[in-house]
Amino acid sequence: MSREEVFEKLNEVFRDVFDDEEITVTDATTADDIEEWDSLEHINLLAAVEQEFGMKFNMGQVVSMKNVGEMADIIIGQITE
């Protein structure tokens, strides 16, 4: 799966979770950029991403992830292993 395809799917997940069809995420997107993205929604977002890509974040990754770009890196790393 190319990075573009990963981002395309990530957009869908973000739109579902935050119920907002306008959202488009980039490498630099963080919780500060999306109003509803608080610590409680974060849990739900990660679960939704895991479901979409059929993978799991481990705890170290959850703790260190800084932005959507790093999230995409982890996803690509896991699904191409």
Binding site: V13, D16, V17, F18, D19, L40, I43, N44, A47, A48, Q51, E52, N58, M59, V62, V63
Partner: protein
């Protein structure tokens, strides 16, 4: 909504919860609002988010109170104006093994026992406080098993083992639940086992977010919880409507012949259907009614049900619709004939096309995607349509009573003359002063009858017992049986002996505190179960009341009708009984007088009253 029906995809629900909620709110408008306090021993945010969806699906629109993180005990035990003013309709306590202090292996048996009762008491005092302050139903989690086993397979054997500890504590919870009404267990021990304990207990969710179970298990937990809640609030389904061919047996009875159906111990598939029939039959014991809805010749359907290896027999069903009508029309007819709403029905059919038609045509009917035969039991069971929160004698007899009503109706159609029909029922009544064995039933009827109820007065069982022994009151209960079955206690009358001047008090809708034993009987309560409408039971009750009056020198009976939203059917009741209207207030209250004549002729001529006692 399909997304929320078992077997559901919890991850999709989690992801799309906002969209699903919007759709649920658009789908209907007749929600009942319930105020639900969620008191957690761990994070509850997403539990509430999921619970809201599953409750909306049941027609319940929840308003939530959520305790601060892990404050479940403090919220109850210390004065809490916020929770008090919230006035919960129900309290859910979400605690798990993460909230327990476990023994260590070096602890003595005494120390372990001490730890056990200490933690049980921690919960018990909280439940007692809730009962005292909030008077609402409580749903309490039992405990899930820990994720690891220090003592390995002997965890359940040694008292120091955590599994042993959880089992003993759960046992105490069950005992409390068994001894206290309005207290229900949410069995997360079973739920976590069915879900898979390793996945359930994924500790990432605890250490990252303080969730006691994994995120993906939350829809399962919320679904289970919503089933208990809707059952507590009386929204369980009532009847299971079943297809026959390839649903209750393998094969098509009309084509293959009853002798070639797959049912019984001979083949693996036959065994599957036998087990399913056994499961369905057992539903009757928890008060679920069974009906058939099958495209078949009637005679073939009966032949299939009479298969010698079959567990279910024709008499297990309250109704059998085997014909070539669309199944959706049969469903409508079944709901009408049983006099229940379509949203009380569950339709089970192996054929997705038939399920689709019923889904589309019969709004409210549950139509589970039942899967393949070996999955039928799991799908029905885990769906929780008939979630048990109380098990009464009435539940166990419900099937019988409805079946008897259907038979009575058939009987009625055969008679041109209604009196002749009533006589054909061979009715036997028992009408007597209140007796100890029936007090609970009399109290139950008094507190739930709304339609055939002249005054809609509610009395506690203690008050009712006091009336029974007070010579200032005349009490009568009525039981009615007929050739089709026994209806049990169906009518209650309470009259207070006083003076004509008491009318002033009754006009205001009040009752005097004591009975002074005058010559006028004031009817404070007259009610009857709608189960026995138009059977002349009310006339028989009247005769008995008149007889009681004559025995103690009461010459006048005063009746009162207080209108409510539900009791219009008895507006003219006293007129029909031969009373004379003396007054009608602006509020619609009517007052009625009956002077007992020297020669009173019994009104009832169709029920044999107290026949077995006199002879």
């Amino acid at each position: 909504m399909r997304e929320l029906e078992y077997p559901f995809d919890g991850e999709v629900i989690l992801k799309k919860s906002k969209k699903i909620k919007r759709a649920l709110l658009e789908e209907r408008s007749d929600f009942t609002e319930k105020r639900i306090a969620v008191l957690g021993g761990s994070t509850t945010h997403d539990i509430i988010r999921m619970l809201e969806l599953f409750l909306l699906e049941q027609g319940i629109r929840p308003v939530f109170y959520e305790s601060e993180y892990a404050q479940y005990w403090q919220d109850v035990m210390f004065d809490n104006p916020e929770l008090r003013s919230f006035a919960p309709d129900l309290i859910f306590i979400h605690t798990t093994n993460r909230n327990l202090v476990f023994p260590s292996v070096s602890d003595s048996q005494e120390r372990v026992d001490g730890l056990l009762s200490e933690q049980y008491d921690h919960f018990r005092v909280m439940w007692e406080k809730i009962a005292e302050v909030y008077h609402c139903p409580v749903i309490q989690n039992n405990f899930d098993y820990p994720s690891y086993r220090l003592l390995g397979n002997q965890e359940g054997v040694y008292p120091q083992g955590r599994i042993c500890f959880v089992n003993r504590l759960n046992e105490k919870f069950y005992q409390y639940a068994g001894e206290h009404g309005n207290f229900y267990i949410n069995d997360i021990n079973y739920l976590s086992a069915a879900y898979g304990l390793d996945r359930w207990a994924d500790s990432l969710y605890w250490h990252m977010y303080k969730y006691a179970c994994c995120m993906q298990a939350i829809p399962v937990l919320a679904h289970n919880l919503a089933n208990i809640i809707k059952s507590v609030f009386g929204r369980n389904r009532k009847a299971l409507v079943l297809d026959l061919d390839n649903t209750l047996w393998g094969g098509v009875v009309g084509d293959d012949g009853p002798e070639n159906l797959e049912i019984g111990q001979e083949t693996p598939m036959g065994q599957v259907y036998s087990e399913f029939q056994g499961y369905v039959k057992a539903q009757k014991e928890i008060g679920v009614m069974l009906a058939v809805n099958s495209k078949n010749e009637y005679d073939n359907a009966i032949a299939g049900l009479n298969h010698p290896e079959g567990v279910l027999k024709p008499e297990d069903f309250v109704l059998i619709k085997a014909n070539w009508e669309p199944k959706s029309s049969n469903i409508t007819a079944i709901a009408q004939e049983l006099n229940i709403l379509p949203d009380s029905l569950v339709f089970v059919d192996d054929n997705p096309a038939e399920r689709e038609i019923v889904s589309a045509q019969n709004a409210g009917v549950a139509v589970p995607g039942i899967g393949t035969p070996e999955q039928y039991i799991r799908v029905l069971d885990h769906s929780g349509f008939f979630e048990v929160t109380s098990l009464s004698e009435d539940d166990r007899k419900r099937s019988e009573m409805y079946r008897a009503n259907v038979e009575r109706k058939i009987q009625q159609e055969r008679f041109a003359d209604y009196r002749e029909y009533l006589l054909s029922l061979e009715m036997r009544g028992t009408i007597r002063p209140f007796e100890a064995v029936y007090m609970a039933r009399i109290a139950q009827l008094t507190n739930k009858s709304n339609q055939f109820n002249l005054t809609t007065r509610r009395f506690t069982q203690a008050q009712i017992e006091a009336f029974a022994v007070d010579p200032g009151y005349i009490t009568r209960y009525g039981k009615l049986a007929d050739r089709f079955g026994d209806n049990g206690v169906v009518s209650v009358v309470i009259g207070r002996k006083g003076t004509a001047a008491d009318v002033e008090i009754y006009r205001r809708g009040e009752t005097p505190d004591t009975a002074d034993g005058g010559g006028v009987l004031h009817l404070e309560l007259w009610l009857m179960s709608c189960r026995v409408l138009k059977r002349d039971m009310e006339s028989a009750m009247m005769d008995s009341v008149v007889e009681a009056c004559r025995e103690c020198g009461v010459g006048t009976i005063m009746g009162y009708y207080y209108p409510t939203a539900k009791n219009a059917m008895v507006k003219d009741f006293y007129q029909i009984m031969g009373f004379e209207k003396t007054e009608e207030t602006d509020a619609g209250v009517t007052m009625w007088k009956f002077e007992i004549p020297a020669e009173y002729e019994n009104k009832n001529t169709v029920i044999a009253v107290n026949a077995d006692m006199e002879k």
